[in-house]
């Protein structure tokens, strides 16, 4: 019961915050709304009993990515000009509605095989075993490290003053 109530509160606040990202005129307020949306997603992870992922969500998204985005807004001085829609506003709306309809119809009409097993309670140790253990995801972890390194170097090269 508590899970249901918290799900609905998180869902409503998340959707309102996401709409704020798209429809707020002030870019800085849109970024703050995005941070609220990230926090609500972290809450949703907790209701899905993904505790480690909720912590990662808060650290990476709320901590790092939002700071980067706010820094970019400050450095490009777009706050006064706002975020006006382009000419494709109405076609984009129609395409989005159609896409959502198709997605919901597919999701509702697919018979998902829901397992009745209770979820693992603390996921951190199991995730570490999966990521770093024998026969796990150690190669993707290494590739992710290389990807992050190249992204950092690429960002420095791109953003450097000539």
């Amino acid at each position: 019961m508590a899970l249901t109530i918290s799900f609905w509160i998180l869902a409503v606040v998340m959707i309102i915050a996401a709409l704020g990202v798209v429809f707020l005129r002030n870019v800085f307020r849109a970024a703050l709304s995005l941070i609220l949306c990230f926090l609500m997603v972290a809450g949703l992870y907790i209701t899905l009993s993904a505790d480690f992922l909720a912590a990662v969500q808060i650290l990476v998204y709320v901590g790092a990515i939002s700071v980067l985005i706010i820094l970019a807004i400050m450095m490009t001085r777009e706050v006064q000009r706002g975020s006006p829609p382009n000419r494709l506003q109405f076609p984009a709306f129609v395409v989005t509605i159609l896409f959502f309809e198709v997605l919901v119809l597919t999701l509702i009409n697919t018979p998902w095989q829901i397992s009745s097993t209770p979820p693992l309670a603390p996921t951190t140790a199991s995730l570490a075993t999966l990521l770093f253990g024998e026969g796990g995801f150690i190669l993707p972890v290494e590739i992710a490290a290389v990807l992050l390194l190249s992204a950092i170097i690429g960002a420095i090269v791109l953003a450097r003053e000539k």
Partner: protein, 103 residues
């Protein structure tokens, strides 16, 4: 009414659609990047929901979500660096006016 898999899937579909609308209909490049983040978050919710309700003992969906977060972080860093470079050259980040490479 208990919350099930469908609730999470429809919620993330709604979040993805909002992000899609923002990507298609906005001029500001930073806002477009933020909407891409919304879409990635929606996909993450889907992955974690599937992991919770379909294979609760395996956690594969959560592993995928971790890699999506890694790629999203890399994408934001490079994307914002590109936006800063464009702003330095053109004094504008309106994507309808950035047409240097348009044939």
């Amino acid at each position: 009414m208990n919350v099930g898999l469908e609730h999470y899937l429809i919620l993330s579909a709604l979040l993805f659609s909002i992000g899609l609308y923002g990507v298609l209909a906005k001029r500001n490049a930073v806002i477009i990047l933020m909407c891409i983040e919304l879409m990635l978050n929606a996909v993450n919710i889907t992955l974690v929901a599937f992991s919770r309700y379909v294979v609760p003992a395996l956690l594969t969906g959560q592993i995928f979500a971790i890699f999506v977060i890694v790629v999203a972080a890399a994408e934001v860093a490079v994307g914002l660096a590109i936006i800063l470079a464009i702003y330095r050259g053109l004094e504008d980040i309106d994507v309808t006016k950035i047409n240097l490479m348009k044939w």
